[in-house]
């Protein structure tokens, strides 16, 4: 059972990393808006009709535009 001397401090290390990760997430504002990102992921960002993406998709013809 002496392995506990190694395993438990390792577990403590993992907890420390988790805590650091959470605090980093709070600091970088990831908890500021808990609703927006869920919707944002569903919106198309790479539509060829958006001017910024038009160059990339010059050959694609818009379906109904």
């Amino acid at each position: 059972m002496r392995i506990l001397y190694l395993l438990i401090p390792m577990a403590l290390g993992v907890v420390g990393v988790a805590l650091w990760g959470f605090i980093w997430a709070v600091r970088s504002g990831q908890f500021d808006d808990l609703e927006g990102p869920a919707h944002r992921i569903l919106m198309d960002d790479d539509d060829p009709r958006i001017p910024r993406y038009r160059d990339r998709a010059d050959d694609d013809k818009p379906l109904n535009g």
Binding site: F31, G36, R40, I50
Partner: protein, 819 residues
């Protein structure tokens, strides 16, 4: 949504086409359209068409597929307003809201108006991020705030604001350094404490399972000690950092010689932790790390949820930003117009207020005649005529025609500031009422501490110090278990969640508890019981025209009017309105126009009578709550329209339902007494008072409170804000002002009045559940206390007992979710 050409032709007289952009009805005969995704779509006005075209031109027409709610009606941007935006580029004005990141990069916080769904966020972000020079633009969907970073060499703040305006949203820069950043810091700190307590308690709990199993099955001494030391290391930050708010609150309570709920919490946490450390050091006795960390974590969770709901309720500073315009048009001696920041105005300045603009400060009219909407400030439902010499209040809206005004008072001396001061004072007084709950808790806490001391002394006398300490701790831990602390918060959170799903937002922790005990409910009229704007309730055709034709004529004359009466006529007429020529507006009286070679007038009876050869008999069946508007041509009177501020549906049912629940319903309004009396009679409200200032309303609430009443106030306007703050519990309408939201304990997002009844029912059920939970927690304590005091409780027994009792309390509270 889209109407084809065929269906439009099939019923040309009147069909309901709605604007593709904002969803409002389109007036037939208008030709506003926009091509969206290859299809011609109807638009209600030039503003919406321009916005739709801007969105399509930017390649963002997917917005119309993603959105889940119709957009806000776009207002036409006047070139002057665009010029006003340029003021935001001035260095001295920027100091308050722009942060300089380095030499060229600037950052500003914006309030975005008009965000209705997630697609609006997408639209704004894509549109603004595509602008040259914009480095970053992110919208926070929860708070409707945006942060923009831009390169000063390539673009200007005014360009960004104009770009946002072009797609139909309004953005104001604001100073985030005040409340906003305070709240953000509070939230971040709370989240950090929660994380420390959560992770800590999970780890300690894991080790505790090992310790308990070891207790039952036997465990080598070194493993036991090792697990205890590790638990100590994990629990230390939870006690030292996460539990800090309880210690601060407890010391504050003790310094004021009071006993709050935080005192036994702090005492139990400290004593249990200290004893555990002592036992770990000595290598015998019990440890309570698991109880301590879990206790702290559960309490912090409850407080975090409460804080999050409170922050959502909006802020006073933001409301003020919206009430007063950022810029005003100052006239110098020669009559030259200059756009200046409103904050720079001084008494004696002459200011031009265009129709639709907000009056920037208190003053009086110098030139011109118009009517002014003061409904947000005074509750008066109809615009009031104002001419040279009349007083104007800052924050009210000029409706009909341009006014030149002379500024009398600015800043802290204005009526608006006075209302805000009243509000601050009322808010400051609120905690004293809330202290009542604390006082009851204090008795319980005092009894608990007394029992602990007695147990300690008894065991010390008959046994030894060590046994006494161990047993006293068992008493403290067992009598201050999760069940008691969870009894209220879980019921609150469950009920709050259920109410939010029904459209009632709870913003203060005490709201439900107080609402359940309410004896008097006071309603404001304008905007609360009524819609706050007039609507056509009856049309009386006098001549041989159909009522519908009369309405169409009146609406044609009022086309494009900003006056509430005109808007009501247009809304009632719907589509099928002809076009008039030689349109002329006489502020305060009515409008005139030519159609098919005939001159028509709509407006005040005297104004219409001036056109007709024979005099028009004035209406003698005037009822106080409504206004009569006449329509006539050169040959005589054509029709009467009766307009009144219509009551919201369900108002009478709600009043009856509240009275059936034993509540006294009262109506306090700033509107004319006769109007208020009429509404009160219609709704069967026994006590109603009109013509009240915010101060009068406050007095009335104070009088009731002194008689021992628990008062609930339902209101919407700025004028209600001080009363909302002074009432023990306040509900604001979702469409109300931000100021009202900031003061309210609950917000009716759905605007359905029957929600008030549901709120009361839910609050009463919550109170029942809370009492059950308390009864259980106290019953459990009554059984556990003698056992603990007798020294019969082993750690695993109390652990199982505590978990079981907590679980029962939580499950009981969750019953509130099913409604």
């Amino acid at each position: 949504m889209s109407m084809t050409a065929e269906s439009r032709a099939s019923d040309a007289t009147r069909i309901d086409i709605s604007c593709f952009h904002c969803g409002l009805p389109v007036v037939t005969g208008t030709t506003y359209t926009a091509v969206i995704n290859g299809q011609q779509q109807p638009m209600c006005c030039h503003g919406c068409a321009a916005v739709a075209e801007a969105i399509v031109a930017a390649g963002l027409s997917d917005f119309y597929q993603h959105r889940t709610a119709p957009s806000r009606r776009a207002e036409d941007l006047i070139p002057e307003q665009l010029r006003g935006l340029e003021l935001y580029d001035r260095g001295d004005l920027q100091q308050s809201f722009v942060r300089q990141e380095d030499e060229h990069v600037r950052e500003a916080a914006l309030i975005l108006e008009g965000i209705v769904c997630a697609a609006c966020v997408w639209l704004n972000e894509h549109h603004v991020n595509a602008l040259p020079g914009v480095l970053e633009f992110r919208v926070n969907y929860s708070t409707h705030r945006a942060r923009v970073r831009w390169d000063e060499r390539q673009t200007k703040l005014s360009t960004i604001l104009a770009a946002i305006a072009a797609i139909g949203y309004i953005a104001h820069p604001f100073d985030p350094s005040r409340q906003e950043s305070l709240q953000k810091r509070e939230r971040a700190v709370a989240l950090r404490r929660l994380a420390v307590a959560g992770l800590g308690s999970m780890q300690v709990m894991m080790l505790a399972v090992g310790l308990y199993v070891g207790e039952a099955q036997g465990m080598e001494e070194w493993i036991r000690q090792f697990l205890r030391w590790i638990s100590l290391v994990l629990a230390a930050p939870v006690v030292a950092y996460a539990a800090q708010p309880f210690f601060t609150a407890a010391t504050r309570d003790l310094r004021r010689h009071q006993l709050g709920m935080d005192v036994p919490v702090a005492l139990a946490v400290l004593a249990a932790f200290a004893a555990s450390v002592w036992h770990t050091w000595r290598g015998d006795g019990e440890v309570y790390y698991d109880s301590v960390t879990m206790f702290v974590f559960f309490l912090l969770t409850g407080r975090f949820l409460e804080m999050a709901a409170r922050h959502r309720a909006g802020q006073i500073s933001e409301a003020l930003v919206r009430m007063l315009p950022a810029t005003a048009i100052r006239l110098d001696a020669g009559g030259t117009e200059t756009v200046v920041p409103s904050a720079e105005l001084a008494p004696g300045d002459r200011v031009l207020v265009r129709p639709g603009d907000t009056i920037p400060a208190d003053g009086r009219v110098e030139e011109g005649a118009s009517s002014v909407d003061e409904s947000l400030l005074t509750g008066e439902s109809l615009p009031l005529p104002r001419q040279a010499g009349d007083a104007l209040i800052g924050g009210s809206v000029n409706i009909e025609s341009p006014l030149v005004m002379c500024i009398d008072k600015v800043g802290a001396e204005t009526v608006l500031s006075a209302i805000v001061r009243l509000l601050d004072r009322a808010q400051g007084e609120k905690p004293r009422l809330a202290l009542l709950t604390d006082r009851i808790a204090a008795h319980f806490v005092a009894a608990l501490l007394l029992v602990s001391v007695l147990v300690f002394l008894a065991w010390w006398y008959w046994a030894n110090f060590d046994t006494a300490f161990r047993i006293t701790l068992a008493v403290l831990v067992v009598t201050c278990p999760c069940a008691l602390s969870l009894a209220t918060p879980t019921a609150m959170v469950a009920a709050t969640g259920a109410l939010t799903r029904q459209g009632i937002l709870t913003t203060r922790g005490h709201a439900l508890e107080t609402l359940a005990q309410v004896t008097h409910i006071i309603f404001d009229k304008t905007g609360t019981l009524s819609y706050g704007r007039p609507q056509v309730v009856a049309v009386e055709a006098v001549a041989d025209l159909e009522p519908r034709q009369c309405l169409a004529l009146a609406a044609a004359l009022e086309r494009g009017s900003e006056h509430p009466v005109g808007r009501a006529l247009m809304a009632a007429a719907g589509a099928g309105v002809p076009l008039v020529s030689e349109w002329r507006n006489t502020p305060g009286s009515g409008v005139e126009g030519w159609l098919d070679g005939r001159c028509y007038r709509v407006g005040r009876p005297t104004f219409v009578a001036a056109l007709c050869p024979e005099a028009i008999a004035l209406r003698d069946d005037l009822d106080a709550a409504s206004t009569w508007v006449a329509l006539g041509d050169e040959r005589g009177l054509l029709a009467w329209f009766q307009l009144s501020d219509a009551l919201r549906p369900g108002a009478a049912d709600m009043v009856a339902a509240l009275q059936a629940r034993g509540l006294q319903v009262e109506l306090l309004s700033g509107d004319r007494p006769e109007v208020v009396a009429h509404v009160a009679a219609e709704l069967a409200i026994p006590t109603a008072m009109g013509g009240l200032s915010p101060q009068d309303k406050l007095e009335r609430v104070r009088v009731l409170q002194q008689q021992g009443a628990v008062v609930a106030m339902v209101g919407d306007g700025v004028n209600d804000a001080p009363v909302l703050a002074a009432a023990q519990i306040s509900l604001a309408m979702g469409s109300g002002t931000q100021l009202a939201h900031a003061t309210a304990d609950m917000i009716l997002l759905s605007e359905r009045l029957e929600q008030v009844v549901r709120g009361v029912d839910m609050a009463r059920r919550t109170l029942v559940i809370m009492r059950e939970n308390f009864a259980w927690a106290i019953g459990y304590n009554l059984i556990a206390l003698p056992l603990a005091a007798g020294g019969w409780l082993t750690p695993w027994m109390s652990a199982i007992g505590m978990s079981f009792s907590s679980l029962l309390v939580v499950v009981n509270a969750l019953r509130l979710r099913q409604s």
